[in-house]
Amino acid sequence: MKNKNSNTKIQLKSISKYFKVEGRNKLVLDRVSFDVKEGELVGIVGPSGCGKSTLLNIIAGLIEQDKGAVKISAIPWEKRLGRISYMQQKDLLFPWRSVLDNAILGLEINGMFRDDARQKAIGIIDTFGLRGFENQYPFTLSGGMRQRLAFLRTVLLDQDILLLDEPFGALDNFTRVKMREWLQSLWESFNKTIILVTHDIDEALFLSDRVYVFSKRPGRIALEQVVNLKRPRDRKIVISQRFMKMKKRLLERLFYE
């Protein structure tokens, strides 16, 4: 297992969120609290519409919670926008930018010269399986490559915290399995704190140190599952006894209602 110091990186304290729907307040997140340690990967699974994306939006600073607090490294960061990497459900690539120029968007926004930014991106483009496509437009890429490019754009800014919202949701099963192994090896090498939202229980257990199961809306934590499996995890781990037991527990909780 990877060395983790026990510093708390992300602290969510009783986060609640309402949305106004037809003039009435609808509770979407109900007092969600959990901590993520530095270098930890925490998975979140839950039924559609339970507020998973909303929670990530709040952590990233895109929207404001109605109650509760978000603390980063024990400090209540008010201005989190631009300081936490966030990969949303869609790839959101710009069709008018080449692959390379899509990747460097964040660097450019933070004032790096284009040429320097391109150099930096080219340095790690191999890891993302995009070598040879630098000057193509995104429409020439396969679904898996688009997702990896969105990923590259997200991590190139090199923030400590990475939020991933269904990063492989749009992909076929085969590609997804390969992508999760790729993500595991990537994560081993870059020591970031990650929150991963997914529909795929195998994916959550395979990648995470801990998994939270959310109840259906209003989302609250229904179950915490610690995943004590040795890393790096092998593809076949998903059919091991211990994995199956955890999976059974999660499934039972997910379909409990």
Binding site: A60, G82, Y86, Q88, P95, W96, L105, G106, L157
Partner: protein, 254 residues
């Protein structure tokens, strides 16, 4: 190249029918000259025609540039100010019901007989499609992409330059293509109501003298001018929006 073949064939057919029809039916030249006679007129009076073409072309280009700037500026103002959107936008749309031919004589009274009133008429007729399309383009912005940029730390200005401008360009070019095709009409209308040069002037001058072949020669040049300007806009569009067309092509293949 195949897509040019059919229209070209149809055009050749029409011209032949015209050529031989005129001869067979014995229609007098002052009523309807044959295409070959119009061609001859183009060659014989090339010096005169060119002088007037240059004047009209100048009016069109100046007017269109004015329309482009005014059109984009108005679109930005409308998109960025709710008050302007509610006040000016309806007026601009309503203004399009006022026939331009009715305004042209007034312009003569206000700004005189020179190039200015023609340039204004061209601008008035061409800015509208540019404004309307650009407004649509600026508003078609994808909120998810805005949020993505915000998580990367983008300022409002960066969102404008890196997302809003590029994503509105295809719309802007639709407006430019319409605007530039009708700009020639604007120049002719401007010249009809009062001018001393230009192809529109040449037509109003030649028609009472029954120089019908010359009127047709002027019409021919005007349409070539319109088509040429349109193709120029298409060319610039293809150069600037290469990604747009590559993507469209790949989608039609798929």
């Amino acid at each position: 190249m195949n897509k040019w073949l059919l229209p070209l064939l149809i055009l050749i057919c029409l011209l032949s029918v015209w050529e031989f029809g005129v001869k067979l039916l014995g229609i007098p030249v002052w009523q309807l000259p044959s295409p070959s006679l119009i061609g001859k007129e183009l060659a014989n009076s090339s010096g005169l025609l060119w002088t007037h073409t240059a004047v009209t072309l100048q009016e069109v280009i100046l007017g269109f540039i004015a329309a482009l700037f005014a059109g984009i500026f108005l679109a930005l103002a409308i998109v960025y100010s709710k008050i302007l959107e509610r006040s000016i936008y309806p007026i601009i749309i309503a203004s399009q019901t006022v026939p331009i031919i009715a305004i042209a004589p007034l312009l003569l009274i206000w700004v005189g007989y020179g190039v200015a009133p023609k340039v204004i008429v061209v601008a008035l007729i061409s800015f509208f499609p540019i404004t309307v399309n650009t407004v649509d383009g600026l508003k078609s912005i994808d909120e998810d992409k805005v949020n993505m940029l915000r998580t990367l730390g983008a300022s409002r200005w960066q969102i404008f330059t890196k997302l809003q401008i590029p994503s509105s360009l295809p719309y802007l070019f639709s407006g430019v293509k319409i605007g530039i095709s009708i700009s020639v009409i604007g120049a002719v209308v401007g010249e009809w109501v009062g001018a001393s040069a230009g192809l529109g002037y040449l037509m109003t001058y030649s028609q009472p003298l029954f120089l019908t072949a010359r009127v047709f020669a002027a019409i021919f040049i005007l349409s070539v001018m319109g088509i040429g300007l349109f193709l120029l806009a298409v060319l610039v569009e293809r150069l600037i929006l290469r990604w747009h067309f590559d993507e469209k092509r790949s989608k039609t293949l798929a």
